[in-house]
Amino acid sequence: MDDLFKGYKGETLKLLKKFNVRVWSEVDIESSRGKFSGIILPRSENDDETHLVIKLITGYNIGLETGTIKNITEKGFKEANYKIPEKEFPYSEGKPNLKLFGTGGTIASRLDYRTGAVIPAFSPGELYGAVPELADICNLSTEKLFAVFSENMGPEQYITLAKAIGEEIKKGIDGIIIGHGTDTMHHTASALSFMVQNSPVPIVMVGSQRSSDRPSSDAALNLIHAATTAAISDIAEVSVCMFGPTSDEYGLIHRGTRVRKMHSSYRSAFRTIGDIPIATVVRDKVTAIREDYKKRRSDRDVNITACFEEKIALIYYYPNMQPDMIDSLIEKGYKGIVIAGTGLGHVNKPLYPALERAKKAGVAVYMTVQTLWGFVHMFVYDTGRDMMSKGVIPAENMLPEVAYIKLGWALGQTSDLEKVKDIMLTPIAGEITEREPYNGYLIYQGGIPEVEELLKKYHK
């Protein structure tokens, strides 16, 4: 693609060349619809080939159909310059030193109104310009480890991240923040919970549900909450810090192995499942809501076990699932399968022979529940016992995604299935709890009078 014509293809590209104009040209256009003046903007790659986009002097963008354009005259040329001015992040003696790792999600960004581009801000100086409150909380250094979308995070990134955290801890950092896209934040959180053990400092993951280029974004407040947690809390665990309610009120600190994104777009999408969160956080204060978390220490004795077996699958059972779903995994050499089964942890009978074949092939098969809340109970019905005899191991109340991550991590360490089982069923970071608290399952039903009363009284 010719850089002078960013994104333009086909007829429109021909037209631009014909009139000797390019992206960022200031132009007068004559068309069968009338006269238009503005700056030619780049065209998004996925948009059609039959329109030209210009920015009017009023700041609005419009598109013009190529076929209607009779003439274009260039009046000037102004190339947009993407740069974020930096202000030096102030250093204050006595404030905790934090490290922010970037993985690709935008924590803060700047808008280029002329072009409409959103430019991520990441360096301490850039972040200080966007979220100056950070300087009241900590001394900050940053490192961009990768630039990938949340859905493209995987074992390779988990391992790099875990090692980088280990290094920082050894160097004496007081807390770590990880900026992450929200879609798979809970996968990464559980991976880090297993790979980084016995951390003496908080490791807080954070993201935003509304992009940071908008005034109502949750990004800045989430970042402030995460920095506060990493700086002053004594929660030396891998946690996820995101909005509690959708209102700008407080954040919740969720344990990395019990948190899950439960809504596609709400600010309050992250919830602790089958348990209660560790703490709430406001701008300058962290309030624990339980005491059984691992406490901050001054030593640097962190254990990093960064490994992952990639041939692991998580399958979501549905009625009439065919046995070849399992067989194909066996054939392709998968070493572990986590099933999200129905109810207490079930699949249909036709799958049993396939499960037996998996056992024979030495594939580790673990059962979790697609209800998300509650334990797997395979003793309640005969069917459950049948499955266990075919090698399926109940994974207690591990969330399906967490069991998937843990199985990959366990198989990454050993291929001895007994040892794997030992690792899988020994709670390491709260992924399996002994008891399910009565308030660990609360999904309020809207419409019911007492719930409506609650909604009216407290900010959503």
Partner: protein, 656 residues
């Protein structure tokens, strides 16, 4: 030596100095001399079933205290390309407002609270907006690009309004010239403000997201009257489609005013066109006053970093003793404004002086509700001499200086001081950029926000562009209503009284009159007069069911024609229909107790009544008798015989 001045006298002197006249005394020459210029931004809600970017029903409102849940948010400025915050953005951020949104399930979903991305744009709304863009003779864009326009006041929970240009460069006619149109855009309506007290602002989300169009004119209007005329024309034009919302708040104007040497000031939220002349008139003179102040200040002092306010704490107890509303936790600060003597009481608007410019900004920016300051040129003050003298001394006052005391919650005073400093510095350069809010019909306005620049626009990454092809435009163009001025010409040939035109436009009854007069035997002047006078009168008493479809009038006329009922009966039937739009003609007749009678029957009564009158009245007054007979027969005659015919028969002695 500290000496107070007579503020009242000074206000009058300054008012004369700038040449202020009342609007009814103002001639076009006065505006020409001022260099008056005015442009309009006319907002009009579209009549669609649902909102613009979600599937919530549009047009359902509730009272401010009727809500089911609340969400609280804060608006944070985003970095602009210079790495600096936009002027408005910065100010709104400084205000540290808690914004509460009130929700009700029936008209708001997760889109309204910005917890879900937009759904595809409402096509019904797009169609209507293109129709209006065609009526405005604008060039329609080839592709609609949804753009985000930042607002940090919280009126839109996302912090930006989704808006898109439909057409640019059009024109409308007014009586003496053409007014050019800059653009027509389609956008989502904002929240309704419920209250704004201190740091708490509350909005209702019922109005949020209703499809809205904004028509922007060039500043081609050179007098307040022209501005109102253009506003009225655009209103009639949008109404002529029959596809726009009516009622309170459905149409709102922002009025841009400037004078020579002044600044474009946007007066927001003018819901009545009637207010436009006085608002623009008063604003023109406010700008004139600020330019005069600039001149005075420049002679006295230099602006720049060396110009600075001086402050000194003032003891609350003295202020309490003087009767000021000093609450617990309040702090007061005495301030010296170097070189500002006579400025604080300088006339700016009828009933207002320059001190209001400060006080209103303090309310908005520092969130201190009024009253928030007193100054020593306020004629109503008596007991502060001692206090001001002390401020004079402590701040090193001089003769040409002004003194004031600002008071409010302790945490907000620093911002108030900064606001005063900023506004006073701006006085050296004349009329500061800002938006103002219309207050009343006399033209009073108050400070609303710093006027945002064009830098607040950026593309909506959540929506794809929408192509508008020629066939679609052609299709919409086939269905356009006739031009407002053409309609007036036709109505003149129909001999409909001109005073009925505005009402006929506003309610878009022209097509109804046309249909009745073309398809039935009624004359357009009869129908037009009845609509423009009788129905307008009923409308004025709010006796018309909301959302009434005026095409229903056709049914009544058609029914009466078929049944051979008289015109007078139509006049009686229409008010019932207006109240009960779903009623059928038969039921209307029974409501008004009409009975069909034979003409002969009615006439036959004349003889009997004649005799009866003679027994009642001893006087032999023939005309009284005729009037009495007419009165007696009227109730049964209406609809059965024309009253004129009956009267002729009675006058002719009758034939009973």
């Amino acid at each position: 030596m500290y000496k107070r001045i007579n503020g009242k006298e000074n206000t009058e002197i300054s008012k004369k100095k700038i040449g202020f006249v009342n609007i009814n005394e103002a001639t076009p020459e006065i505006y020409e001399k001022l260099g008056f210029k005015c442009g309009l931004e006319v907002h009009q809600q579209l009549l669609t079933k649902s909102k613009l970017f979600c599937r919530c029903p549009a047009g359902k409102y509730q009272k401010g205290d009727d809500f089911e849940a609340e969400v609280i948010r804060h608006m944070r400025p985003t970095l602009s390309e210079l790495g600096e915050y936009d002027g408005t953005a910065l100010m709104e951020f400084k205000t540290r407002k808690n914004i509460t949104y009130r929700l009700k399930n029936e008209n708001a979903c997760t889109y309204e609270i910005d917890d879900t991305p937009p759904f595809p744009l409402n096509r019904e709304a797009l169609g209507i907006s293109i129709e209006i863009a065609l009526l405005l003779k604008t060039s329609i864009v080839g592709e609609l690009h949804i753009t985000r326009k930042q607002y940090l006041d919280g009126s839109i929970p996302t912090g930006f309004q989704r808006t898109a240009i439909v057409g640019i460069e059009g024109e409308i006619p007014i009586s003496n010239k053409k007014i050019r149109i800059i653009q027509l855009s389609i956008e989502e309506d904002s929240c309704r403000e419920i209250s704004d007290i201190g740091h708490e602002r509350i909005y209702s989300t019922d109005r949020l997201g209703i499809p809205l169009i904004e028509t922007v004119t060039y500043p081609d209007m050179k007098t307040p009257a022209e501005a109102a005329e253009a506003g009225q024309y655009i209103r009639f034009l949008t109404r002529s489609t029959g596809k726009v919302r009516t009622g309170i708040g459905a149409a709102r104007e922002d009025v841009n005013v400037s004078i020579r040497g002044g600044t474009r000031i946007e007066i927001k939220g003018v819901s009545r066109i009637k207010w436009i002349p006085s608002l623009t008139h008063v604003e023109a003179f406010r700008q004139k006053a600020l330019l005069e102040i600039k001149k005075i200040l420049k002679e006295r002092k230099k602006n720049g970093p060396e110009w600075d306010i001086r402050t000194t704490p003032v003891d609350n107890t003295i202020l309490v003793k003087a009767g000021l509303p000093i609450k617990n936790g309040y702090k007061a600060s005495g301030i010296r404004l170097p070189g500002f003597r006579t400025i604080l009481s300088f006339f700016t608007q009828p009933g207002k002086t320059f001190s209001d410019e400060l006080s209103e900004r303090i309310k908005v920016i520092a969130c201190i509700d009024k009253p928030n300051l007193v100054h020593d040129e306020d004629p109503s003050l008596n007991d502060y001499d001692g206090v001001f003298k002390e401020i004079y001394t402590k701040t090193g006052g001089e003769d040409k200086d002004a003194f004031l005391i600002v008071f409010g919650p302790a945490g907000d005073i620093a911002m108030a001081e900064e606001t005063i400093q900023e506004r006073c510095r701006l006085a050296f350069s004349g009329v500061p950029n800002e938006t103002r809010k219309a207050v009343n019909r006399e033209g009073k306005t108050i400070f609303e926000r710093v006027l945002p620049g064009p830098d607040r626009m950026y593309p909506d990454t959540d929506s794809a562009p929408i192509a508008i092809n020629d066939n679609y435009i052609k299709e919409l163009g086939n269905d356009l209503p006739s031009d407002v001025h053409d309609r007036e010409k036709i109505m003149k040939t129909w001999k409909i009284p001109e005073d009925t035109f505005p009402y006929i436009h506003v309610r878009n009854i022209f097509p109804v009159i046309k249909k009745i007069s073309e398809e039935l035997s009624y004359s357009p002047s009869f129908v037009g007069t009845m609509v423009g006078h009788r129905i307008k009168n009923i409308d004025g008493k709010n006796a018309i069911s909301s959302g009434f479809d005026y095409l229903r009038l056709f049914d009544i006329f058609e029914y009466c024609e078929k049944k051979g009922l008289d015109n007078e009966l139509v006049k009686l039937m229409v008010p019932v229909l207006l109240m009960h739009p779903n009623i059928d003609p038969e039921s209307i007749l029974s409501t008004i107790k009409f009975k069909k009678r034979d003409k002969k029957d009615i006439i036959s009564n004349i003889h009997l009544l004649d005799k009866q009158f003679n027994t009642i009245s001893k006087k032999n007054d023939n005309s009284a008798k005729k009037r009495w007979i007419m009165g007696q027969l009227r109730p049964i005659a209406v609809g059965n015989i024309s009253l004129r015919e009956l009267s002729d028969i009675i006058n002719g002695g009758g034939n009973g």
